[in-house]
């Protein structure tokens, strides 16, 4: 419900015309502290507070005030006499009420509770009352049994009240001490937790400062190691390729020598290379040929040797360079001309080779 609706209901609330649910809702709204509604309600209550002025005056019964005062005294006196009722508001009066209590018997109507108190049996003051002269002094009433009984009751009452008050103070003191002890314990626990939290935060900071750089260094070192190993691996692979290139012709030459299908062809030097010579192992079935040459003329710069297989025309079988000592080895693994080869020849060609021989022929031989 909106504030405006509550505000509309304030007049009905003040005059008591709201249904229970509406009243509860409005009281909840008021309890929540809506000052505008409280202010408006105050005016409406002042209005309803004046409404009885529109009634004809009906005087209360003459004895009503006495009845009310008697009832008030009946409530006040038992508490000053040490009643055990624990009503805090009435049973712990201030000193004024307690002290004034004995006086009212003069003004209080007969039959009041305070009048009945002195009716108890007289004690040692009774004989003095009997021995009093016909015209007793003004203070003589203080020696009557009734006064003695009332005094005794008053003393007992004060004593009991003091005892109750003392007990209450002791109880409250004990409760306060318990509360203070609990509070102190909570404070200590809170301080301990705060200290542990600070230590944990410090540890975390130190861990970060100490461990993270080390981890970063280790990672960097690992990365460097990996890079170095990658370089080494590349070198090894290159070396392996070199070794393979070096070792393979020998191995394959040996393998070809062990084959029954391989034919051997001798190559002779031409006029351009009279001292040169060589031989070819030719495996027609697998299309392979292995050349071994010696005393080959030195290659001019930018030139290579090129092996040719000749059927009806020369077909390149690859280029090669000279090994140390002017020796040459060359393996042609996949000859383009796999059948019908009648001759082999070696010429000098530009780097990269040529489709057809263009340079001087150094070696040649026929099957």
């Amino acid at each position: 419900m909106a504030h405006e609706e509550f505000e509309q209901n304030l007049a009905l609330y003040a005059v008591g015309a709201l249904d229970p649910l509406e009243r509860q809702a409005l009281e909840t709204h008021l309890t929540e502290g809506c000052q505008m509604c409280w202010s408006a309600l105050k005016d409406y209550r002042e209005t309803t507070g004046l409404l009885p002025n529109g009634l004809p005056i009906t005087a209360p019964p003459p004895g009503l005030k006495g009845r009310i005062e008697t009832a008030v005294l009946a409530q006040v006196l038992p508490q000053s006499a040490g009643a055990t009722d624990s009503d805090a508001t009435l049973r712990t009066p201030d000193g004024d009420v307690t002290i004034r209590t004995p006086a009212p018997p003069v003004a209080v109507p007969a039959g009041d509770a305070t009048i009945r108190l002195p009716s108890q049996p007289a004690t040692r003051t009774a004989p003095q009352a009997k021995a009093a002269p016909v015209q007793p002094p003004w203070w003589a009433w203080t020696t009557t049994p009734a006064f003695a009984a009332a005094s005794a009751a008053l003393v007992l009452g004060i004593g009991a009240y003091a005892f109750l008050l003392n007990s209450k103070v002791a109880l409250e003191t004990a409760q306060r001490q318990q509360t203070e002890a609990a509070l102190q314990q909570q404070t200590v626990q809170a301080a301990t937790l705060r200290q542990e939290l600070a230590q944990s935060q410090q540890d975390l900071v130190e861990f970060k400062q100490r461990t993270l750089p080390a981890l970063q260094d280790a990672v960097a070192q690992r990365e460097m190691d990996i890079e170095r190993m990658r370089i080494q691996l590349a070198q090894k692979e290159q070396e392996l390729v070199g070794l393979y290139k070096t070792a393979s012709p020998k191995d394959e030459m040996l393998a070809m020598l062990q084959s029954a299908n391989v034919r051997v062809l001798s190559l002779a030097g031409t006029d351009a290379a009279k001292s040169a010579g060589g031989l070819v192992l030719y495996d027609a079935e697998r299309g392979k040929a292995f050349l071994y040459a010696f005393n080959m003329p030195a290659l001019p710069r930018g030139k290579v040797y090129q092996l040719w297989t000749i059927t009806t025309k020369p077909v390149s079988a690859g280029t090669f360079s000279a090994d140390t000592g002017r020796k040459c080895r060359h393996l042609a693994r996949s000859l383009q001309a796999k059948s019908g080869i009648t001759k082999f020849a070696v010429s000098v060609e530009p780097e990269g080779g040529k489709p057809q021989p263009t340079g001087a022929i150094y070696l040649h031989g026929s099957l």
Binding site: Q8, A11, L12, A14, V15, G16, A17, L18, D19, P20, W38, L41, K42, D43, Y44, R45, E46, T47, T48, G49, L50, L51, P52, N53, G54, L55, P56, I57, T58, A59, P60, P61, P62, G63, L64, K65, G66, R67, I68, E69, A71, V72, Q75, D87, T89, L90, P93, D94, D96, V97, R100, A107
Partner: protein
């Protein structure tokens, strides 16, 4: 202590309740003298007989004595507080009586407001010379009959607006509007009494 009844008072000595709160029985007596006639008139109007009204008033004053600290000056004047408390307790008794099957008189047709509307204030009111009573009586007589009747049914008989609507065979919204309009008019006219 003077036991004679006093005329209705429009207000209370503002110092009385704080003194009663301190346990001042003399102040308590003055509180009774200044408020009892108005409160008794209210209780009698609601309950319809003097004995019940007297019993109720005794309970109310004892409650004031016991719960004297519950009064909050920020929420209203002392008299408004006492009227609210007396009316509330009286309505509770009225409902309790109704629940027990006792007959409830409906004094609305011969209500005091109607008497005031006749322009014949009671001798006590006249002797009191109370401007507040005159102002309230005039404000009530100037209200439309339907508004005044709805307010009185709620305030003096404890009927909710839905009960009033059922009793008068009127639409619910109409009754709410009548009460709201009537209360707003009374508030405007009577405002000088508390400001």
């Amino acid at each position: 202590m003077d036991l004679s009844p006093k005329p209705a008072a429009s207000g209370l000595d503002p110092d009385l309740l704080p003194r009663v709160a301190r346990g001042d029985r003399g102040a308590f007596g003055q509180l009774y003298e200044q408020s009892s006639t108005l409160l008794f008139s209210l209780a009698f109007r609601i309950l319809g007989d003097r004995d019940s009204a007297a019993d109720l008033l005794q309970d109310v004053y004892l409650e004031v004595w016991r719960k004297r600290v519950s009064y909050d000056a920020a929420r209203g004047s002392p008299m408004a507080w006492l009227v609210t408390m007396t009316r509330s307790r009286a309505i509770d008794r009225l409902r309790s009586r109704t629940a027990k099957g006792h007959g409830v008189t409906d004094p609305i047709d011969h209500s005091p407001a109607v008497q005031l509307a006749d322009g014949k204030p009671s001798p006590l009111e006249a002797s009191a010379g109370n401007e507040t009573r005159s102002l309230v009586g005039k404000a009530l007589t100037e209200l439309p009959e339907a508004q005044r009747k709805a307010i009185e049914l709620a305030f003096y008989q404890g009927l909710s607006h839905s009960e009033i609507a059922a009793k008068l065979n009127e639409p619910l919204g109409t009754v709410k509007t009548r009460i709201k309009l009537g209360m707003d008019k009374l508030r405007t006219v009577l405002r000088p009494c508390w400001e």
